[in-house]
């Protein structure tokens, strides 16, 4: 039983990552692909934050009388990664807007047919 409690967090996070990954590679609509990419990345962030948690610890801000803090390093890394994620999202979405203007559609199979191969 303790085995499950030790790991259920990670397992659900793995499930979420794979849900996001599945949306990215299976979706035909480009906006949905970007949503999937975001879900994929957000779930990876959860993996990092989960490993930084100490049971019984508090947020890593010094408070009188507290000795057990959670690990601040994963938090820093994920702060960076979140911002990287939104940067990619913004560029991806503006590409989608331009694709819509150029092809009139944002469905992958439809604009693929509009050009020759490659």
């Amino acid at each position: 039983m303790s085995f499950i409690f030790d790991y259920y967090n990670y397992w659900i996070v793995v499930f979420l990552m794979m849900a996001g990954f599945y949306i990215v590679i299976s979706a035909n609509n480009l906006v949905k692909k970007i949503v999937g990419l975001n879900i994929f990345q957000t779930s990876v962030f959860m993996l990092y934050i989960s490993m930084g948690k100490v049971t019984g610890g508090t947020a890593p801000i010094v408070v009188e009388g507290v000795t057990q803090y959670s690990n601040p390093l994963p938090h820093v890394l994920i702060l960076t990664a979140i911002v990287v994620g939104v940067a990619t999202t913004a560029v991806g979405l503006s590409l989608i807007v331009r694709i819509k203007q150029a092809y009139g559609t944002v469905e992958e199979n439809e604009f693929e047919n509009k050009d020759d191969a490659i």
Partner: protein, 516 residues
């Protein structure tokens, strides 16, 4: 003062220059500024290489915090060598791009183009120099975002879908690397690569570490376009502006190959990757398939840029092949090929860009009769093409020679033969273009067009690279010296790490004995 900060400057310089280039705004100003900065970065990386060759490793603690608490920059012969190639190509491409970009990119976007180029250069230098696994991810994203921008700047609408596909694949790759680094961090508690290497050995056969290794390998393979994860590369290289293709084809994937080398040799250790996980055989098979499949694909394309893009994927196969031989000679062949391939592809794509500048098309039919009309450009294409094929007295011959020798050294006749057969495909696809250029006549319909040689601003950088192709084919002292000391160094660190890990194990065992 400069010497003290030599390791950090090649990153900081373009990083600071990028926002300034945006503020300058005007086409000529931002072009001149970007070229100047890139040239300075080239001089710095030249000094860095000579310092690394004489002193060994240069470590620089950013913020004054000692590693593993702070971020460490770590320069050795291997990454200084790749950095030299990257900054050199970047400078030449920038000189070349002024006219090429004027033709292919809207005027309003010129300053943005040079800013993005500088950001990409900063990102690539950062990836090469940093000694911190997470910092590598950050720089990877800087260079990737700049690359998506650069690819999407072309006027053809197909560049948009190519850039989007690149963005999705690239982000998946980066996220895989993030997962891999996370798993390593979870097991070791550190992000510094040297520190990781020492601590990973203590957990050698842990499933978490192995999964982390697999995710990093897959992520990096997407970035370096290893077969079968190369699908983003041909459209991106075909539809990007010519100057961008010349820059990316000769730098971005090479940097990713270096990242793979670095993770294998200085973080995980050869024994772990090749002996325990059996990655050598996987890589070798993928490399051979890449060489044949993509060389074949190159022979049946009609767009010359696509031909060269597929050829790039095949050439990456050669680099990975050298790596997978797991010997000093094989690694050295890979390092030499990274450098030489940058020279060949840079020259080829520049020549193709010059053709596009004058003719407005890069279809193989558009090359008909250009041997007369644009003699200097086509001569450059010919020499660089011979270099791809591996004709003696060119740089390509040197890399193939070392690769074949490395394979024969291990008695691996099959690989040696495959390398030589692979070169036959190169003869076909380069030959098709040359045949059109020299033996077909200019079609009547285009006689009236005023097709002539491009200006010196495009020819000079092109010919500098072409001459470098010949120079490094005759005088191999620089490349072989740098590459051999790089690969020896990589093997040394690997051995050193394994020894220190052994000592660690011994000392830990001692501690346990004492405590028990």
């Amino acid at each position: 003062m400069l010497e003290q900060h030599l390791a950090a400057l090649p990153i900081i310089l373009p990083l600071i220059a990028a926002p300034i280039a945006l503020i300058l705004g005007r086409t000529v100003l931002s072009w001149g500024f970007a070229t100047l900065v890139s040239g300075l970065a080239f001089i710095l990386s030249w000094q860095l290489l000579s310092a690394a060759l004489s002193e060994g490793v240069i470590s620089y603690a950013v913020g004054g915090w000692a590693p593993p608490w702070g971020i460490e920059l770590r320069v050795d012969a291997a990454n200084a060598f790749v950095l030299l190639a990257v900054t050199a190509i970047s400078t030449l491409v920038l000189v070349y791009s002024k006219e090429s970009i004027e033709k292919e990119v809207k005027v309003a976007n010129h300053a943005l183009f040079y800013t993005a180029h500088l950001l990409c250069l900063a990102g690539l230098s950062g990836i090469l120099i940093t000694g911190d696994a997470f910092n590598l991810f950050v720089f990877l994203e800087i260079s990737s975002l700049a690359t998506y921008t650069l690819v999407s700047l072309a006027s053809d609408r197909r560049c948009l879908t190519a850039a989007f596909r690149y963005l999705v694949m690239g982000t998946i790759g980066a996220t895989f690397i993030l997962i891999g680094v996370g798993l390593l961090y979870m097991k070791t508690g550190t992000l510094n690569m040297m520190d990781l290497a020492v601590r990973i050995d203590a957990y050698d056969s842990s499933r978490t570490i192995n999964t982390g290794l697999a995710f990093i390998m897959v992520g990096v393979s997407i970035k370096l376009a290893l077969f079968p994860l190369h699908m983003w590369l041909p459209p991106a290289y075909t539809h990007a502006p010519s100057a961008v293709t010349a820059f990316l084809a000769s730098t971005a994937t090479k940097v990713a190959v270096y990242v793979m080398i670095r993770f294998i040799f200085t973080v995980f250790g050869i024994d772990h990757v090749f002996v325990d996980m059996g990655m050598g055989l996987i890589l070798m098979v993928l490399a051979v398939v890449a060489i044949f499949k993509c060389s074949y694909m190159a022979t049946v394309q009609s767009n010359v840029k696509t031909i060269l893009a597929y050829s790039s994927v095949a050439q990456i196969g050669y680099m990975i092949l050298g790596l997978s031989l797991v010997s000093v000679a094989g690694l050295m062949a890979s390092m030499i090929h990274i450098f030489n391939h940058a020279l060949m592809k840079g020259a080829l794509f520049m020549a193709v860009g010059a053709v596009f500048y004058r003719v407005g098309s890069v279809d193989i039919k558009a090359f008909a009769g250009l041997g007369r009309k644009m003699p200097l450009t086509m001569a450059a294409f010919t020499i660089a093409g011979l270099s791809i094929i591996g004709v003696p007295l060119t740089a390509g011959f040197v890399s193939k020679w070392y690769l074949v020798t490395a394979a024969l050294e291990q008695g691996n006749w099959i690989v040696a033969a495959l390398v030589l057969i692979g070169s036959l495909f190169a003869i076909i696809y380069i030959g098709r273009v040359l045949e059109a250029a020299y033996f077909q006549k200019l079609p009547e319909s285009r006689k009236s067009e005023n097709i002539k040689e491009v200006s010196w601003l495009m020819l000079v950088p092109m010919w500098v690279i072409v001459i470098a192709n010949i120079y490094f084919g005759i005088d191999t002292s620089l490349t072989t010296e740098a590459a051999s000391s790089a690969s020896e160094w990589l093997f040394q660190t690997n051995n050193m790490l394994e020894n220190s890990a052994l000592e660690n194990n011994v000392s830990e065992a001692n501690v346990q004995e004492v405590s028990s």
